[in-house]
């Protein structure tokens, strides 16, 4: 019986984490969409400015 209780508790913890992870990933996706719409080149490159010799880099002002 104790084991059954423990399993239920564990399952709830895992469910909660699954929910938090999905919620976070969903929000991140919406932020990346927003940055794309804004043409946020540096931000979408992890905060790094592409150097001039980076191939295929395009400057968006």
């Amino acid at each position: 019986q104790d084991l059954a209780k423990k399993n239920t508790a564990n399952r709830q913890v895992v469910e909660q984490r699954r929910r938090l992870l999905q919620e976070w990933l969903g929000w991140r996706e919406s932020m990346i969409e927003m940055l794309k719409e804004e043409g946020a080149e540096i931000e979408l490159n992890g905060g790094k400015i592409r150097s001039e010799d980076d191939e295929g880099a395009e400057e968006i002002e």
Partner: protein
């Protein structure tokens, strides 16, 4: 890998910062000296002399060419990273508590201390990224924080907002163009100051730390508190790790507040929390006093901490750090294959 100890400072560290490539670490201390170090072996790259008081803050521009510092001598200074040359000195009526470049490096903000006859302000200067260029003395923006003094501040994504933390525990969002206050939220406990504010790589969210023993992740656009990390000690600093979804928190009771018992217990550890699940996952010991600042390598391969004990400790993450996954994260990774 054993941590590297950087022992060039004679007094408490106040801020440490990696450059964008992560090969250099800049450190400032109450000993008036700015140091630059190679992050892979801890050898000194150079020092920057000129400040006449304790230093509170340092930042490096996104091209790794310009270094900004601020301190108790009421000056904010700009240096050339490679030569140590002092390029510009801006003078104020009170200490500079925080400096930060905008994401593209064309703006620099400074937070000035509140003092008799001087209001707390956030000032912004346009910066010419060329070290050979003349820098302006004209402020492009000046925000007066008369409600509660600002302790920390930084630029959001696209330098759209300036987000500031205050002495009263609140966090503000200002329009970075005209300085207008948009929101002020009570993010931390009343009258327990916000001690640090660091950004996620894309600056859509930041993490704040406070003397209220918590750190919070805040949405830069809405100022909504998304995550809360609860600890048992006043926090001085908080950082977000790239690659892995962790945050690193540093703090500890100041010496004058420590009873012999709690000193023995020691809370001078860097604490790792899972960013999404808000659970503590590990601690790293080492410092003999509070951690005043923690900074993460921009590529997420390590971190360094600056302590009240006068040392900078540089850690390179090991395999276990990268391998660690919660069951639901593993599920998610497999679902994406």
């Amino acid at each position: 890998m054993r941590p590297i100890l950087l022992s060039g400072h004679e007094r408490a560290l106040t801020q440490v910062k990696y450059n964008p490539d992560g090969d250099l670490i800049f450190s400032v201390s109450k000993d008036h000296v700015v140091c630059a170090w190679f992050s892979h072996n801890g050898e000194r790259f150079g020092t920057y002399h000129g400040h006449q008081g304790a230093l509170w803050t340092v930042d490096v521009d996104p091209h790794s060419k310009l270094l900004a510092t601020g301190g108790a001598d009421n000056t904010m200074r700009l240096w050339e990273v490679d030569t140590g040359k002092l390029l510009k000195t801006w003078e104020f009526g009170s200490s500079i508590k925080r400096v930060e470049f905008s994401p593209d490096g064309t703006q620099l903000l400074g937070v000035t201390e509140k003092r008799a006859g001087h209001l707390s302000t956030i000032v912004v200067y346009e910066i010419n990224p060329d070290p050979a260029a003349e820098q302006t003395s004209e402020q492009s923006l000046r925000i007066v924080c008369d409600e509660s003094k600002a302790t920390v501040a930084g630029f959001s994504y696209l330098a759209r907002y300036i987000i500031a933390g205050h002495e009263d525990g609140s966090v503000s969002q200002y329009d970075a163009k005209d300085g207008e206050l948009i929101y002020n939220v009570r993010a931390h406990d009343a009258d327990l100051q916000v001690t640090d504010l660091q950004w996620a790589p894309d600056r859509t969210y930041c993490i704040t730390s406070s003397k209220d023993k918590t750190a919070k992740i805040i949405d830069a656009g809405t100022l909504e508190v998304l995550k809360t990390y609860v600890t048992d000690t006043p926090l001085n600093s908080a950082a977000i790790t790239p690659i892995k979804d962790y945050v690193i928190l540093g703090g500890g009771q100041a010496a004058m507040d420590v009873t012999t018992t709690s000193a023995r217990q020691g809370k001078f550890e860097a604490r790792f929390y899972h960013k999404i699940f808000q659970e503590e996952i590990g601690r790293v010991r080492g410092h003999f006093g509070p951690l005043n600042y923690v900074a993460v390598h921009p590529q997420g391969t390590g971190y360094c901490s600056g302590g009240e004990d006068g040392y900078v400790r540089v850690h390179h993450f090991d395999k276990a750090y990268f391998d660690f996954l919660y069951e639901v994260e593993r599920e998610q990774a497999q679902a994406n294959l």
